[in-house]
Symmetry: C2
Subunit: 348 residues, 2 copies
């Protein structure tokens, strides 16, 4: 008998969205940015390539400094992660003993549940209201850690700010606010970090900074919290190239702000067009929309779109089983999506 931990044995692995490594799909399933980063981020690459035989900076100093300038914090308030998934796992392992409780909304980013189970934590899910929103503070006194995403997937809307603030006020544990999608909206929660000593904000460069392929994420919090989380992370968790691409991207704020506005414009057009095509669509603050076709099962729509080389995301979760989540692509990609959907609707 091999000594596999019960918490591992009993948990199915996380199934990430499909990542076809071919280019024949219109890929609107995992919320990547449709626009590449500027070519200039590759400028210092030659120099870094000469150093691949050498260990990277173990504490990602330049990357954290660059992040700090953009976020308005000292680099000592920032921990760099191998993607923000690394940050989520580090938080679990810093604050939660197996058998203790982790809380999060339902529905939300499905990884929270999987990593909490693998960690052996007790799980408390707090249902969102019928509109998938938070209309009162998320109260769970036994939780050592609460994961809240705002904007919250798969809906993509910011949670009610007042409720979130009251959650921070009342919690005895740590609140990790996952801001993966925040750059496609007008607000963030950085003021909560300064206001409350139990708040961590996590960020990723995968979406707004077009670096999903490079795995760069951050935790922003008090120096005390960052120091403890720093003990838990792998000592060389970001490679040289990830560090330099991340730091370089932060230098092109104007470029990225233009992209975020383009994505928001396309998102609004997508929302309107889907509604005209008889979908129920939630308003979104993120780079995706959750939409329910009123004339076909969502699972069928997913399959038929995939047959026509358009990938969207379908979740088996009972509360959203008649929705698909569609990432905001380029205008041309969205035109093609809408064209295919119109054909399917006419055939339905």
């Amino acid at each position: 008998m091999l000594p596999i931990r019960d918490c591992v044995q009993q948990t199915p692995g996380y199934v990430p969205g499909e990542q076809p490594q071919t280019t024949d799909y219109i890929k609107l399933n995992t919320n990547e940015n449709p626009y590449s980063p500027p070519d200039e981020i590759f400028n210092n690459l030659e120099e870094e390539l000469k150093k691949v035989r050498l260990y990277p900076d173990p504490v990602s100093t330049k990357l954290r400094q660059a992040a700090g300038e953009v976020f308005g914090f000292s680099y000592e308030n920032i921990l760099a992660g191998n993607g923000s998934d690394d940050i989520l796992n580090i938080a679990l392992r810093t604050f939660v003993n197996p058998g203790e409780t982790v809380a999060f909304l339902d529905p939300t980013y499905s990884l929270y549940e999987i990593i909490a189970k693998v960690h052996g934590a007790n799980i408390k899910t707090i249902p969102t209201n019928e509109n998938f929103e938070l209309d009162s503070p998320l109260i769970c006194p036994e939780a050592k850690l609460i994961f809240v995403a705002s904007p919250n997937p798969p809906l993509g809307k910011h949670l009610n700010r007042q409720s979130l603030q009251e959650t921070c006020e009342q919690a005895t544990g740590i609140i990790l606010i996952d801001e993966a999608y925040v750059d496609f909206s007008d607000e963030n929660h950085w003021d909560f970090i300064k206001q409350y000593n139990n708040v961590i904000v996590s960020r990723t460069m995968s979406k707004s900074y077009s670096l999903a392929g490079m795995r760069v994420g951050f935790a922003i919090s008090s120096v005390e919290i960052i120091e403890q989380m720093n003990k838990v992370r792998d000592s060389y968790n970001l490679d040289r190239i990830a560090q330099i691409f991340g730091a370089n991207c932060f230098q092109f704020q104007d470029y990225f702000k233009d992209i975020w506005q383009k994505v928001r414009n396309t998102r609004n057009r997508l929302t309107d067009s889907l509604r005209k095509l008889d979908f129920f669509v939630f308003d979104s603050d993120a780079n995706f929309v959750l939409a329910s076709p009123q004339w076909m099962e969502a699972s069928d729509l997913y399959t038929k779109l995939k047959e026509r080389k358009v990938l969207v995301r379908y979740f088996k979760h009972p509360r959203i089983s008649n929705y698909v989540r569609i990432t905001v692509g380029t205008d041309a990609e969205i035109d093609r999506l809408l064209e295919v959907i119109e054909q399917l609707k006419n055939e339905a």
Copy 2:
């Protein structure tokens, strides 16, 4: 009171070897390969850079296939890690509940102790004999996981094969054999994987494949063990560029075999020269040597070498407090090291 876990609060963080990000040091302190990988590994880079906005292959298929061809296993027997440190942590989290026991030799790779403490495991250290070797099987019936490195740092010698085999035979837990340095020797332990159902071999591309900057490591074991470990790893633990550089490096076996032989030749010359300079030096199977100056405190030697821009590694561990660990550099680097040492000896 923030809910920091006791196991985290009470553990000092791991202190990696110094990684000056300037180039004015002769860097012989963290066992990097002194030779860069061939320029051809950058060949497919343009194509990958165009795709940095897209998530990487979550299961590192091409990299694992390339590793499998070199190691002589199916890719299903291989898990890719963000460096082999990631593999060590994944093993802990797959097989050991907090409060259960992890065993390893003393001295050995100092990270084992830190990550086991951060995980909340009980630690059982088994002292090596007076020559820092293993002369009988490592018996620890309560251990869910035994970390053994062979070659074992900081000595750099392979452990006695018979003792290691008996360790695998008698263990009721998992044996993880850390082969970080194995390519600088003539043996490995891959046959143990096929012979025993509780053996994992970990490998890294940081040393022999000149990729310390890119964080690529592997676990090789049974499909059953790999499947469980796969649930614990971050779902996108290797970025695009790390995956492609790793896969590319494996295509240049002749190039790297030449390098490994060069390193071994330099290692032998370094060993002989240090002995002539009145050092006690252990024979090594790795790309470093453990050496004790008979005419100066090792800590002083470390400091004086650093003042002269030569970095070696000094460990405060009581059993090796009069040793320095020296990475095998290029012949020119070792010439310079020996020259500085000779000056220091003459002044001593």
